[in-house]
Amino acid sequence: MASVGKPQPTETTIPIPDEIPLTLNVNGVERTLSVAPWTTLLDLLRDHLDLTGTKKGCDHGQCGACTVLLDGRRINSCLTLAVMKDGAKVTTIEGLATKDALHPVQQAFIDHDAFQCGYCTPGQICSAVGLIAEGKAKTADEIRELMSGNICRCGAYPNIVAAIQQAMGQS
């Protein structure tokens, strides 16, 4: 009788490579750690550094919940391997406020009630900070277009746009 069971692997497995050392400046603090090559920046932040403010939504770069600032630019941390960013400066939602005050975008989100469940909010806020730094958006339409990578299932979009307009006016 032919053997029945698990299909045999059709390709040879490679040995698990050593973890790769890297240094990141995360919210102003130098962090040195070693991670497997397939560790995304998102998983590094959440699972290795316990910075769970950055959210995992779709894990496919479609929702924007994982948006962080990398050397000042907004990126999807779920589609970025941590080992690709050795030496970079990462700012997450935890790193925006100062000791005494919320970041203007954080305060604007509160002022305009720009969230309901809040799951997309860390990504929305980091993306808005990046957007304002880019300086490209002037009108509400442009804000909507340039924030289109950040999905809000609760539909707080009008309030998010209003919050960003307020923060832009202050910067």
Partner: protein
């Protein structure tokens, strides 16, 4: 995601050498395309 090895090329010649050495190696560039496809098990670069 599947297990794989990561190597950073130092220049163009090094990149060509590395991609040549691994029959299923892929350039990652920014990663937003390749990593997504690897998570869906569409792409399986290994080295």
């Amino acid at each position: 995601m599947i297990n794989f090895q990561y190597a950073r090329a130092t220049d163009v010649a090094d990149a060509v050498r590395l991609i040549d050495a691994g029959p299923s190696a892929k350039f990652i560039a920014g990663g937003t395309n390749l990593i997504d496809l690897m998570k869906e098990d569409v792409e399986r670069p290994r080295g």
